[in-house]
């Protein structure tokens, strides 16, 4: 038995003139229908590449460039996608699995009306007439909360506000009732007030349609209330994974601490943030030996024998369904979290 979405040891490597870019380097996770998974990480951590790989879009816009090397398994509802016929995967795209992108302005074609773009998405998978498809588009726009949908359906993307565009994008993604919805930074390009509305919308729709949802973000705050599970990625690998409550309550990995520390909090002054993640993301070509996070980790010296610099930590279960990849012992993790980190958050 596999989970509804079951990713196993996924590797996505891009050959370049400078060397092999290991964007995703051995990632596994599972997601059931009706569940929401939040994938969190900074840019370059491999979270977007992961989502594109699931969609079969990792080679998109790569004409003539060297093809990405991809290995592992991606099971969706009992079908393995990587080995499947590309045209079969194409037919699943948009119907079984759909995606919402970060910037709805650039993700929508500027020359076509919103309606046309939704109709197109619908008709490619449904053998219906233009009128029926248009009715469906209006219905979807109405569902995502766009006022006067029968009029706005003929508007162009540039005539919408940012939030409206993202609603339209969501309407387009959900027009075929997909089982899996991947939202890649769905709120990053939006105003703070609009962000909450969009997140609410996604949650409502998920409940209504019962889809599996993957939300990809660099901001733990986005998924705090939405996700059932959270997966933290760093340098193309998972560094911590677990139920959202557990992860927020007792995070084990110093990088997760950093992310928590970077969360914008309305109740505190930004100046007080104590655990920013210093330094820059690791090279994906020449990965630091040992723990990829060690050059930036304030606690790299806590484990003995230089182990953080020589041995790559494996994901180990640190609690019920809670996994982390850190050389520190469970006691050390708990102590530092409780004594040094948590009080400052």
């Amino acid at each position: 038995m596999t989970a509804f979405l079951d990713v196993r040891d996924l590797k996505v490597h891009f050959p370049t003139d400078d060397g092999l870019v290991k964007s995703v380097d051995g990632l596994s996770f599972q997601l059931e229908k009706g569940q929401t998974l939040g994938i969190v990480g900074e840019s370059g951590s491999g979270k977007s590449v992961t989502s594109l790989a699931v969609m079969g879009l990792h080679t998109a816009g790569q004409y003539g460039k060297r093809k990405a090397r991809i290995s592992g398994e991606i099971w969706l509802d009992g079908t393995e996608l990587l080995a499947a016929d590309p045209d079969h995967v194409r037919r699943l795209r948009g119907r079984e699995m759909a995606m919402i992108f970060q910037d709805p302005l650039s993700a929508l074609h500027p020359y076509y009306t919103i309606g046309k773009q939704i109709v197109e998405a619908y008709r490619i998978h449904h053998d219906v007439g233009a009128k029926a498809a248009r009715r469906r588009a209006v219905e979807m726009l109405d569902r995502v909360g766009i006022p006067q949908p029968d009029k706005r359906v003929d508007s162009y993307p540039h005539e919408f506000s940012g939030g409206m565009r993202q609603r339209a994008m969501i309407a387009m993604s959900l027009v075929n009732n997909p089982e899996l919805l991947i939202a890649d930074e769905p709120t990053t390009a939006l105003d703070v007030t609009v962000q909450a509305q969009i997140l609410d919308l996604i949650r409502d729709l998920q409940r209504e349609f019962g889809s599996a949802v993957v939300i990809i973000t660099h901001d733990l705050g986005v998924v705090a209330e939405l996700a059932d599970d959270i997966l933290v990625m760093y340098g193309g690998r998972c560094v911590e994974r677990g139920p959202a409550d557990e992860l927020f309550h007792e995070p084990r990995h110093p990088y997760t601490w950093g992310l928590l520390g970077s969360m914008p909090r309305l109740d505190r002054d930004q100046q007080e943030r104590l655990i920013p993640v210093k330094g820059s993301p690791p090279s994906l070509i020449n990965r630091p030996s040992g723990c990829a996070f060690n050059p930036r980790c304030p606690y790299a010296d806590v484990p003995k024998d230089d182990v953080t610099r020589t041995v790559r930590p494996e994901l180990t279960e640190v609690g019920g369904r809670h996994w982390a990849a850190c050389h520190m012992s469970a006691e050390q993790q708990k102590r530092i979290w409780a004594e040094e980190i948590a009080p400052k958050l």
């Binding site: 004409y63 003539g64 037919r91 795209r93 948009g94 119907r95 650039s106 993700a107 074609h109 500027p110």
Partner: protein, 332 residues
Amino acid sequence: MLAYLIRRLFAAAVMLVVIIMVVFCIFFLVPEWAGVDIASSFVGKQADPAAVAAVREKLGLSDPIFVQVWEFFKGIFAGRTYAAGGEVTHCAAPCFGYSFRSEQAVWPVLTDRLPVTLGLALGAAVLWVVVGVAAGVLSALKRGSLWDRGAMVVALAGVSLPIYFTGLLSLAVFAFGLKWLDAQYVPLEQSFTGWLGGMILPWITLAFLYAAMYARITRATMLEVLGEDYIRTARAKGLREHTVVGKHAMRSTMTPLLTMLGMDLGALIGGAILTESTFNLPGLGRAILDATRNQDLPIVLGVTLITSLAVLLANLAVDVLYAVIDPRVRLA
């Protein structure tokens, strides 16, 4: 939209007047600065001053420039009357005057020659758009492949080789060497196949240059567009690749091409001088070339007016089409 069109057409009319005045100024002032009397080139070898003066009077060269400009435009809309040396001629509107050299009315010359140039420009345009865009799209889709490199080398050659070289070469090979076609211009109304036989080489030669440019631009634009987010969205919808490229990517790639096409067509209608000369096509380009050499002002003015009009209309068409293609552009 209508208000926009009216305003643009009005601006175009003003522009035309300015262009004509500039042509007048170049024609009259430049020789004057050089201390040269235009009229003296219209009399024979034994030019006595009285004859020169009479010619100057006849050609209307002694009037102030603004009077000449006024007469010129009056002639177009209301016709004008020429009176010189006891000869009175009325020239009905649209009157572009009479050639200084051959004495034929300019308007029939223009209407006779415009179809040749139009046929050349439009025929070549169809060819270069089809070939250039197809080659550019293929190159973009197969970037780095042997095809792409080959096509881009050919395109570079096309862009850098002068028309009179490729033109002479094509004549030497196809007309004189292989004798596949005669390559002499035959008017369309005389014989369709003859016309085709005369136009094919000029079309190919001209299209080669432009197809090369269009292929390069298409390739670059297509590559840029294929990297756009909305192309990824189109794929994410489950669209077939040929729809993604042929519809979504092409639509965006078309925009800069359309602008270019409008400008190029407009310019070609006035400026296919080299092609027309190489292949002896009796079009507007050759007319203005000969007229410039012969100091034949009325022909120069007529061709300039027609071609400026063509350029302005082409630009207007581009603007309107642009608004049709790209909804973000508003004509106001």
